[in-house]
């Protein structure tokens, strides 16, 4: 080994190190510049942008956000995500277990489910289902199936997934099995999601409206309106929520249609839910109305509504959104709970509570445990909304550290 070669190697190493260092310093430079730009951006960024930046860092909340978006899609288009008519019972198809989707067929991506054959056990009288490996039912996307209405605007029969050929009623796919009347659990879950989640959303929307309005009036004007509204809130909060819900729902006329019951339950949940938010809003108003910028707005002759909606409310938008998000799961749980007790929605309406109520028997627990899956949907939704709400709340105050 010669010295030349040694020195050559050293030189190469040195050069490499130098290059590394240069790259590093360049990167550092860039980063510093970024930070400077960031800092510059922060100074000029509007509130929502700051919130978004901060929210982005909360990975779990981000994932939850995606789950919530997916739920929102199901709420809007339950028919599209269903595979079969959720109300149709099938005499020969009771208690079909969950059918697994196989994705790879002969080494190629061709999703399918195996066919099933059922037989009633002559001794125990139980329907016993076996997989028929001979029969493969290919699955395809955007398949034709039962007709459904989209947001009350038009009808279609296109579904997210379905069978490739033939009628789905003859080659059924039960992604989550069937219940005791042979109804498809997956499709029922989709429609149940629409009802349960939308009840949560609408009632929170109504309670936010009431909360901001009454809380705002109370906080901004003070005096007699404040006194009345605050006492009202105290009375409402002192009432035990669950018995009140039960009493109100029990008082609902039983011949009301499904839509009427739905509407009434939403209102009942909302009318009790607004109080916390109203308190919070009032507190904010009390603080804000002493702030200089409000004074400035007042002095420059802004109208009251302009002061409230243009200057004051935007400062706690983010808070309202966070609180509302956290209130949704409470509402969903309440609906589920009421329906589970048989006081809320009742069959033929489908909601998570109704589904769980129908699974509340020995038979379902012992021989058809898949009927308890709506419970999982409740858990996932409530967790997702809670984590999202948490993320939003943390992000809502971008200046705090």
């Amino acid at each position: 080994m010669s010295d030349d070669r040694v020195s050559e190697a050293n030189q190469e190493a040195q050069e490499a190190r130098h290059a590394d260092l240069t790259a590093l310093s360049e990167w550092n430079q860039a980063r510093l510049e970024d930070e400077r730009e960031d800092a510059a951006a922060i100074h000029v960024a509007p509130n929502w942008k700051l919130t978004w930046w901060r929210f982005k860092k909360h990975r779990l909340a981000l994932v939850s956000g995606l789950v919530v978006i997916l739920l929102a899609l199901i709420v809007l288009f339950p028919g599209f995500f269903s595979t079969m008519d959720p109300h149709k019972s099938r005499a020969q198809q009771s208690f079909v277990p969950v059918q697994r989707i196989h994705f790879i067929d002969d080494g190629a991506f061709r999703p399918f489910v195996y066919g099933i054959v059922g037989r009633r056990n002559p001794e125990t009288l139980r329907m016993e289902w076996k997989i028929d490996e001979e029969k493969k039912i290919p699955i395809t996307f955007f398949a034709r199936g039962f007709e459904y209405e989209v947001l009350g605007l038009f009808t279609t029969n296109i579904h997210f997934i379905g069978v490739k050929e033939g009628d789905i009623e003859e080659n059924p796919i039960y992604l989550l099995g069937t219940d005791r009347l042979g109804r498809d659990q997956w499709s029922r879950l989709m429609y149940g999601t629409r009802v349960s989640v939308s009840i949560g959303l609408i009632s929170v929307f109504v309670s936010v409206f009431l909360g901001v309005l009454l809380g705002g009036v109370s906080g901004y004007y003070g005096g007699v309106p404040d006194l009345i509204i605050q006492r009202m809130i105290e009375i409402l909060q002192s009432l035990p929520a669950i018995p009140i819900w039960m009493a109100l729902t029990a008082a609902m006329p039983r011949d009301w249609s499904v839509e009427q019951t739905y509407f009434a339950i939403t209102l009942i949940l909302a009318l009790i839910g607004w109080t916390t938010l109203a308190r919070e809003v009032r507190g904010r108003f009390l603080v804000l109305r002493e702030e200089d910028f409000v004074m400035a707005a007042k002095l420059s002759g802004a109208t009251q509504s302009r002061i409230i909606f243009r200057h004051m409310v935007p400062t706690f938008y983010s808070h309202i959104i966070a609180t509302a998000t956290l209130a949704v799961p409470v509402m969903i749980i309440s609906e589920t709970f009421l329906s589970f007790l048989g006081l809320g929605l009742r069959p033929p309406a489908i909601s998570w509570g109704v589904l769980l109520q129908e699974a509340q028997n020995l038979q379902s627990v012992a021989i058809a445990p898949w009927l308890l899956l709506p419970g999982l949907a409740v858990i996932i939704t409530v967790l997702a909304l809670n984590i999202l709400g948490d993320g939003l709340r943390d992000a809502a105050d971008p200046y705090s550290h």
Binding site: H87, K88, S89, A91, Q92, S94, R120, N121, E123, T124, L125, R126, R180, L181, G182, R254, D255, G342, P347, P348, Q360, N361, L362, Q363, A366, I367
Partner: protein
């Protein structure tokens, strides 16, 4: 109907045959003899069947129950023997009547001891207790085919069935040791039935055709004669349903005079009675008496049943019955019945929890509130739970029928529709009974209308059993169009002729069957022919109250009492009380002689006529009348039957593996007080 004149040689033959059979059974005590239960009939046998009245034979070679004490004719439970030894009870020979009731279980002689664990759903479930003890003078045989002696020794009637003589057992005693005599029947007659404070209207089984009350007279201490103004072939069937355990003094036919006189205004000292009424928190002595006169509300009230309430009532969380040391029954070896020491009803707030307890083997003997849809779960856990599942299918009609209130008035237009035969026929054709059978009946039974089973003498024939049962939506649509339900709303549901929406309310009491599901399936199937309906699940007490106030539109119930149109409170009779949702205002019309209520149409008047005729006819004639009755019944389709001949109604029996003498098959209906008719006092735990 000349069975009462059957010649004595036949009778002797039967008793000898029965004796031999009993001896054989005793010798091989484990040989079960399950037979297909024949259909229940209402055959009024004018004389006590000899078979069950065989005198206690001398002990055979069966080793287990060899009487150790030679001086005693009968044996008793160890717990009673101890009390005798302690001087608390007279010896068994003195406690039993001269001629005890001899009963043998289907598997033979049993062993003493044990507690029979059952479950009940609280005070409203009082019939749970009534059905277990079945405390009546005479009662139905296990298969429900005939009336047999129980507390009474036998009976006799004259040629034209206007006079009935009932013989009590000399030496029989109430559970407190006081003698049971003709005076106890006369106390009931004079001081309960005829006392207008206690019973403003006398029970209808005691009312003659002309409105007067039948007479009851004492012949001697142990003989009582009933005299009616017209032939009464249903007397025994009625007597078999006068149950001392019932929750109504209207259903008594004898009562402990020695005990109840202290609460009765005709006997008690006015001041003392007044004090008792006040102390108990009542207003009048009538209230006090009605509580004190019934064993299920007063544990101190002496009874004659095999088990008597032990310081608890149906309102307690645990309702315990202990053996009656004075029960009149013995087995063929002279062991006093019952074999089982104690019956324990445990309160369950929830039916599912009750079913779960059955699955885990915590109940020894239960059919009531066992949900037939849990049959697979029960069957699969038989080994683990240490029980067996026995089925006792009902022999009557359909196990879920849609009853259309014929006097519905809350909405006159809907009322008119419910009275329209074509409307009912259309809805019947719109039902897919095969689907209902698969989904709500586990594939058991057959689609049929509410008429008796094919093996029942009252069966009116296939034509009527299956009338209007074929699934034919086209025909249904055609009929619905033809009666003017042509207009439809945006969703395709038919509108009433006035343009108002039509919505049929189906009331369901989630009591015995999977009726909520049957209702939901009907809603779905009727929607296909454009008839909107919804299921309304109501608590039992509320629904019963709404029946009386004529507020129910359509109700799902089972076809109980189908085998008994001429006695008790059959649902075919609009005058029955309590009735089902058939036509509450018709009853009012009959009760007020047409002044109030609603006049029934000709077909319903025909029903009433047939029932009245059947009550006074001989057996042959009675069968013909019953068949005719069910033809009218099925043809007019006041009730739409779905699926029948299944064990849905209290017929899935969970039996502890050690509990023996439980028949494999038995008649199953409310008039039989099932399982009371299967003689629970002969059940025993094999150790």
């Amino acid at each position: 109907m000349k069975r009462n004149s059957s010649n004595p040689r036949n009778l002797l033959l039967i008793s000898v045959a029965a004796l031999i059979l009993i001896l054989v059974l005793a010798a091989c005590a484990s040989a079960p003899a399950p037979t297909q239960a024949p259909a229940a009939t209402e055959a009024p046998t004018a004389e006590a069947p000899a078979a069950t009245e065989a005198p206690p034979p001398t002990p055979t070679e069966a080793p287990a129950a060899e009487p150790p004490a030679p001086e005693s004719k009968y044996n008793e439970a160890p717990m009673l023997a101890e009390r005798v030894k302690a001087g608390e009870l007279p010896p068994v020979d003195e406690r039993l009547p001269e001629e005890p009731l001899v009963e043998e279980g289907v598997e033979g002689i049993g062993q003493y001891g044990g507690t029979l664990r059952r479950a009940f759903l609280g005070p409203s479930d009082h019939n749970n207790y009534v059905r277990v003890v079945y405390d009546a003078l005479v009662r139905f045989s296990p298969d429900g085919s005939e009336v047999i002696p129980h507390i009474a020794k036998g009976w006799e009637s004259n040629e034209d069935f206007t006079e009935w003589t009932v013989y009590l057992r000399p030496g029989a005693k109430w559970s407190d040791g006081e003698p049971l005599t003709a005076d106890d029947i006369l106390f009931w007659y004079n001081d309960i039935l005829l006392n207008t404070d206690l019973m403003p209207n006398p029970a209808n089984w005691m009312v003659n055709n002309d409105g007067s009350v039948a007479t009851v007279e004492k012949i001697d201490d142990y003989t009582v004669k009933w005299t009616f103004k017209q032939p009464n072939t249903a007397f025994l069937l009625d007597l078999a349903n006068k149950d001392g355990a019932d929750l109504s003094i209207a259903n008594l036919a004898y009562a402990p005079a020695h005990y109840l006189k202290q609460f009765h205004a005709s006997y008690a000292d006015a001041a003392e009675l007044e004090k008792m009424v006040k102390d108990a928190g009542f207003e009048t002595w009538v209230e006090l008496f009605t509580v004190k006169a019934l064993p299920q509300t007063n544990a101190d009230r002496p009874t004659t049943a095999a088990w008597v309430p032990d310081n608890s009532t149906v309102s307690d969380p645990v309702f315990v019955l202990k053996r009656n040391p004075y029960y009149v029954g013995v087995d063929p070896e002279g062991n006093q019945l019952p074999y089982i020491d104690e019956v324990r009803f445990t309160f369950f707030a929830d039916k599912e929890a009750l079913n779960l307890a059955a699955v885990s083997g915590e109940l020894d003997f239960q059919a009531r509130h066992i949900n037939m849809s849990n049959y697979p779960v029960l069957k699969e856990n038989e080994d683990k739970g240490g029980y067996r599942v026995v089925t006792w299918p009902t022999f009557g009609g359909s196990d879920a029928v849609f009853m259309f209130n014929q006097t519905y008035q809350n909405d006159p237009e809907i009322g008119e529709l419910l009275r329209n035969k074509d409307f009912r026929i259309a809805l019947s054709h719109a039902l897919d009974r095969e689907a209902i059978k698969e989904l709500a009946f586990l594939g058991l039974g057959e689609p049929r209308q509410g008429v008796p089973a094919p093996n029942h003498p009252y069966y009116p024939g296939d034509e009527w059993a299956y009338k209007y049962t074929e699934y034919d939506p086209d025909k249904a649509n055609e009929l619905l169009d033809s009666i003017g339900l042509t207009e439809r709303d945006a969703d395709g549901f038919r509108l009433l002729p006035s343009g108002k929406p039509l919505d049929i309310e189906i009331n369901v009491v989630p009591a015995f069957g999977n009726w909520t599901d049957v209702g939901q399936l009907a809603v779905e199937q009727w929607a296909k022919v454009g008839v909107k309906a919804h299921v309304e699940v109501r608590e039992r007490a509320l629904a019963f109250q709404m029946r009386d106030t004529n507020d129910l539109m359509v109700e799902i119930w089972n076809e109980d009492t189908t085998g008994f149109p001429f006695s008790g409170q059959p649902k075919m009779d609009p005058r029955s009380n309590p009735a089902l949702t058939f036509g509450p205002l018709f009853r009012k019309w009959y009760e007020t002689d047409g002044k109030e209520g609603m006049e029934p149409p000709a077909e319903i008047k025909k029903l009433v006529e047939l029932i009245d005729k059947g009550k006074v006819s001989g057996r042959e004639e009675q069968i013909k009348i019953a068949q005719e009755l069910f033809r009218v019944w099925a043809d007019n389709i006041w009730e739409i039957g779905t699926v029948g001949l299944t064990p849905m109604i209290q017929g899935v029996v969970v039996v502890n593996n050690n509990l023996r003498n439980v028949p494999e098959t038995a008649g199953n209906d409310w008039p039989l007080r099932t399982p009371g008719n299967t003689r629970p006092e002969t059940f025993y735990f094999s150790q």
